[in-house]
Amino acid sequence: MKEAVGKYRPGDRVRVRMEDRPGHIRTPFYIRGKTGWVERVHGEFLNPESLAYGRDGLPKRPLYLIGFHQAEVWGEYSASGRDKLYVDIYEHWLNPA
């Protein structure tokens, strides 16, 4: 667990941005527009969207582990209601929910 680096703290509810833009994106399509919570603050990391094109990836961006209820991610999730899905998402892909 890292010290607070960005806008969000563990427990905050967040929504993944519903963006669709070209380039190297590490926010999976299936999670966009979904709402979850901050499980962990990973710290600050170089931005892969910039590194992918040979740029330096600066400034570092806060990265979080975001938790989701499976039943809220997939309309047809038929297994246990307790099941969860966790994705590492950059702050610039999150909005407060």
């Binding site: 590490r26 999976p28 307790r82 994705v87 590492d88």
Partner: protein, 218 residues
Amino acid sequence: MSHDHLSVGHEAKQEQGDAHPRHELSQQAKRIYAIRELLIEKGVLTQADIQRQIDYMEARSPANGARLVARAWVDSAFKARLLADPKAACAEMGIDATSINEFVVLENTEKVRHVVVCTLCSCYPRPILGRPPDWYKSFNYRARVVIEPREVMREFGQELSDDAEVRVHDSTADIRYLVLPLRPPGTEGMSEQELAKLVTRDSMIGVVDPLPAVPFRP
């Protein structure tokens, strides 16, 4: 298995170690030999640079991960250290995890099972476990485990009650995840070495629990 015959100068001969004669390789596969030779000719890489990587991967296997898990099972203070700072805990055991940017260990319990995937490519804790199995990199695993993890686990022989919770981790950034599986029942008194034998690679990816204490007798 030694890979010295991969060094420069051997391309002209058919090597004992080659599964296929080189002229039978696909066009794509052949190109790596050309790329390697050109990079060395131009001084971009040396043979030693390449050999270093071959040796690095050869030294990495699930046995490393199994040692960490077995130690965590017998030593609760070590387990706490492993969960709090996995890279430091690895260093304690002579496992080099320095090339992992951020390392997180996910502890399984009676009620919670974790399973790891990289849906976007094939990110995997290679410094700890070595190369990922083909199935981990497959389209079917990457497509299915996030949406139907229990069905996938069932294919691997793992059944879970509805009481238990499955947590899928999609490893989309620089964090590398290792599952610390649940110690099987009936293993009290087993040595660390014996316990390590129960810890399979697949149990550290999370698709199955470790091996049971006694072999299954039908």
